[in-house]
Symmetry: C2
Subunit: 332 residues, 2 copies
């Protein structure tokens, strides 16, 4: 009876293996750092609907555009936007070449560590610091400045390098969307050329899929070589009503999914959802003082106020960091 039994065993073994395999494939969770709940379900159901050829909500791959804010949505923005900290550090580093800053505000205050006076100089003062650190060099020099700074600059409370203070659940979401033939873009109020040196490695998003604010740049011939030289003049602010405009200019296709974390993302999400067919708009709500930070209506960065009030009426998903995210940062 040896042979027949063996045949049956092999058959059973093969059958169970394929059963286990198919169950495990079905059960594989594409978003393991997201807790079960309405936010996770909304994402999974949305992706299933727009990728199902038999669904009325089907969207062809070339139009599966997902846009993500950066500060507070993909990486940490609290207690201060990373780019502003870069500007402050650059001004300090450049100070020996600018003796005039010793007597000129807000440079004088910044160099003396008097952050209260820097803050009191308002947007105008901060803009002067940003221009002094972001303009006057070639595009290649600026990329090098940013890359060098990001290599060592570290978040004082969280301990991570800023470029690694990124949210694990969002990394999983980006990967999940791309696996479902979405194109993933960043659409941020932050500087487009400040973000580009880090987005590929951190998020898998190449430089040409990054949209952001910019200063004017000019093509010049310098030292016999052609170069782009950065000018101390605002070109475009990719924030609030600027975000849909940045999307139109850089992407040229209206997103079907948009993810932000602040009132400044409302227009991007409104524009996304105003398109025909099924759309998804989400906000990260920073509710987790233990693992990250808790801030919203009265915050000096990433203020989330009107969007909280209007979310239900508009069908926007508010992702509660504390409840919805099982893990906030990647494993070390």
């Amino acid at each position: 009876m040896g042979k027949p039994l063996k045949g049956i065993s092999v058959f059973i073994l093969a059958f169970s293996t394929s059963l286990i395999f198919s169950v495990s494939v079905q059960a594989a969770d594409p978003l393991p750092s997201w807790n079960a709940g309405p936010s996770k379900s909304a994402i999974i159901e949305f992706v299933a609907a727009v990728t199902d050829k038999n669904s009325k909500d089907y969207v062809e791959p070339g139009r599966r555009i997902a846009t993500f804010d950066n500060d507070g949505t993909l990486w940490v923005e609290y207690p201060m936007y990373t780019q502003v900290l870069f500007a402050f550090d650059r001004v300090k580093k450049l100070a020996p070449q600018h003796p005039e800053w010793k007597t000129k505000q807000p440079f004088k205050a910044l160099l003396a560590g008097d952050m209260k006076t820097v803050g009191a100089s308002g947007m105008k003062g901060v803009a002067e610091l940003v221009m002094a650190s972001h303009a006057g060099m070639t595009s290649d020099e600026f990329t090098q400045d940013v890359t060098r700074w990001l290599a060592t600059a570290r978040h004082p409370k969280l301990g991570c390098l800023y470029k690694e203070c990124i949210y694990q659940p969002q990394l999983e979401l980006l990967t999940y969307l791309r696996a479902n033939e979405f194109k993933t873009f960043i659409v941020s109020g932050g500087g487009i050329q400040f973000m580009r040196p880090m987005t590929m490695k951190a998020y898998g998003i190449p430089p040409w899929q990054v949209v952001g604010s910019s200063i004017v740049s000019e093509f010049q011939t310098k030292d016999g070589k052609s170069a782009i030289v950065r000018q101390p003049k605002i070109d475009f602010i990719d924030d609030k009503a600027g975000k849909p405009v940045g999307i139109y200019s850089h992407i040229g296709v209206r997103p079907i999914l948009a993810f932000g974390n602040a009132d400044a993302d409302m227009q991007m999400i409104e524009y996304t959802r105003a398109g025909k067919g099924r759309r998804l708009g989400l906000f990260v709500h920073h509710t987790d003082a233990d693992r990250e930070y808790a801030y919203d209506r009265n915050s000096h960065v990433g203020q989330l106020d009107k969007a909280l009030d209007q979310a239900d009426a508009n069908g926007w998903i508010i992702v509660d960091m504390k409840k919805d995210w099982r893990q906030v940062f990647p494993e070390k």
Copy 2:
């Protein structure tokens, strides 16, 4: 002797088949519409060098950026840029809603078919016609206008739909570059939103890999829906020194290959070649009055003059349409 012979025959047969197969793979020409010659060799050698991991010229895939001008480089621009013809046709179509155009130049001349007076109105006059046809509507409405026009507008001499008056050798080059992990971009003086409705189907280039000139656009809420509304004001001219700036803004990586056809492409090619490592810059020279057109130094479109003089000294490749292209347009 039956069996051994059969075995040997099968062996020989298998060997020859694999030999033929490997020879045919090696011999497969990725650019069949390009005649053998220095232009074709320069392209093939360049691609081989930058994709060979053992070459000193190796470039990682994420930096294999190729930029192409559109008018006269990918599609026909003679005797007039397609977008200008679209503008003229739109103005004629919109005329019933604008009785004031009956007495206002250059509208009056255009509506009367007096192209001499239209031409005499210069850049200012043509700009007025372009604005009247390109601004004042939502982004979606403009895309529909362009799509509808491109569906039927036909080149008077060549007979092709404008969107199909595209160069077969360039289609092969785009495919060849993408097969070698290049990202292909359009960088054109033409309107970014005028090109986007046709580039994916014609060239396999998605909307977000198109860089071009633009007018200002604004995010507005209209009829209770969010929309981008196009404004009659120039935002950016992606031509001459604007091309490297457009590349920096939209792509964020300096190209390693750039292809144009006019003096207005010199800065893009200069910028491309000024980067470190091996680079390739090319111009189409329209030399073929039989199959397309012959024009260069004194042309009213796509003027190619200084670039012809400086090509040798700068190592730019001048592609001679008549000599270098075996076939100009795709088979019908």
